[in-house]
Amino acid sequence: MDASTHHEQQSAGANINVEAVMQEVAEHKGCGTSGGSGKASCGSAAGQGDLPTEIWEKVKNHPCYSEEAHHHYARMHVAVAPACNIQCNYCNRKYDCANESRPGVVSEKLTPEQAAKKVLAVASTIPQMTVLGVAGPGDPLANPEKTFKTFELIAKTAPDIKLCLSTNGLALPDHVDTIAAFNVDHVTITINMVDPEIGAKIYPWVFWKHKRYTGVEAAKLLTDRQLLGLEMLTERGILAKINSVMIPGVNDKHLVEVNKAVKSRGAFLHNIMPLISAPEHGTVFGLTGQRGPTAQELKALQDSCEGEMNMMRHCRQCRADAVGLLGEDRSAEFTTDKIMAMEVDYDLDSRKAYQAKVEIERVAKVAAKEEELTTLAGEMSNIKLLIAVATKGSGLINEHFGHAKEFQVYELSTSGAKFVGHRRVDLYCQGGYGEDEGLDTIIRAINDCHAVFVAKIGGCPKADLIKAGIEPVDQFAHEFIEKSAIAWFKTYLDKVNSGELQHIERGDAEIRQGALIAAA
């Protein structure tokens, strides 16, 4: 699902040729599931915060669940589960979005044996790869044999890899015990409603016990099974994360109810993602012109749910087969042909050594932030503003403005720097440096930010950003993000206090459509 939630998209049929179908098949971007989630509440997102210790232990190295870990660790998804048992209006399993199908990024349908080999090959090459997910292209639990065979093969050879899966929940109650037996510690359920009347607008049908159900009856069945599945996971101590797709005018206000319902049943994290819908995706919502939320609408909803539980804000709605750190896709290096030809030597020790080094980096980053935070002590101001950061990972401002495929967005206030989301701009680099159109796309994507922090930036884009009212900041190149952001904010406040600068609120920003496939 890429886009979202867990999955993807299904179709409204039309004629297309066989090759296109083939590509496609494989493609079905999944979604939502895939992304990650994080603990992003309060200014202390880098640490355990208010999570219970046993949960923190489970999630701290999981790039999808810990907002802070996603800077350092990687996950991958294998596409072993093509079938689905329900239909979502935001999913088109037939077509690949015309904008996203660049050569080399087509996902492949894998057998469990191929998938296991791929995981080992990737884990040996990328030591920070700690998590394997099955998220599609359909529903992993509508393909239980393939999904569990894959887990079995991986658990045997690479016991240090964490397993997770994402599901629409319909078949979940039937498989909870198997999931527990495989030691799967994270399950993501895509729950978009707890009211069948609303559900009927999102799900045209579900297939259950040899029968297709439609309308309110279908949605009732689905919500009952989802909540039952969630309760069963909680009883067994398996972490459950909830993904919800925010569909303006359909379930946007209702998601507050969903948040309460899942929280009371023990979900540890709730990820609200924007609906991705463009007519060329061929989804029902795409064709009916259902719009997705703006950046401000999304953030407002996430904020209103945050008092209730941990919200995840760094989900990138990546493709079901993405390989690499969140936001970076290396799947083209690991096609089935290349993998099958590879000799894989799984070296557990060197993986452990690498991960130990990463831990040291993480501690340093947190310490730097804490130290800087003390300089803000005593500052009084109601000013809250957003900044965008170009980063390649490790929590550093280490990306060139023109190479950034996405920006991370932090909210600054006197209580510190809080990660609140990311903005994709992966078109810009394709458009060539300095091209106005690409730059406009970026400005629209970060239009709600007061400043953009980069490692380097050219003269032209710099001038245009300033014109748009966004301050380009490059003096913190290669330094820690939060520490730098706090230092900059302090100066900003000083200028406002001295009257040298007037604080102005910024407008809204646009959410770019389409799955993340940064394989350029």
Binding site: N17, M22, N85
Partner: protein, 74 residues
């Protein structure tokens, strides 16, 4: 009769394959095909053809009128 799969619409998601009570569906060259000798329209097993009920693409698993109607043996 039997059902058939409109190849140009099939996404090869394989959902139908697992649901067929007669193991009549198989993959060939990237799309799924129904063996007309094995398909019983699900008569005797379920109320409706399972492949059509689970298929994500409407009008993809359809009746193949070039075959006579399936006659359940008494």
């Amino acid at each position: 009769m039997t059902l058939k799969i409109v190849a140009s619409q099939c996404t090869s998601c394989s959902a139908c394959e697992a649901e067929c009570p007669n193991v009549a569906i198989y993959e060939k060259g990237g799309t799924f095909i129904i063996n007309p000798k094995k398909c019983t329209e699900c008569i005797g097993h379920f109320d409706s053809p399972q492949c059509a009920a689970v298929c994500p693409v409407d009008d993809t698993c359809v009746i193949d009128t070039s075959y006579p109607r399936y006659q359940p043996r008494a």
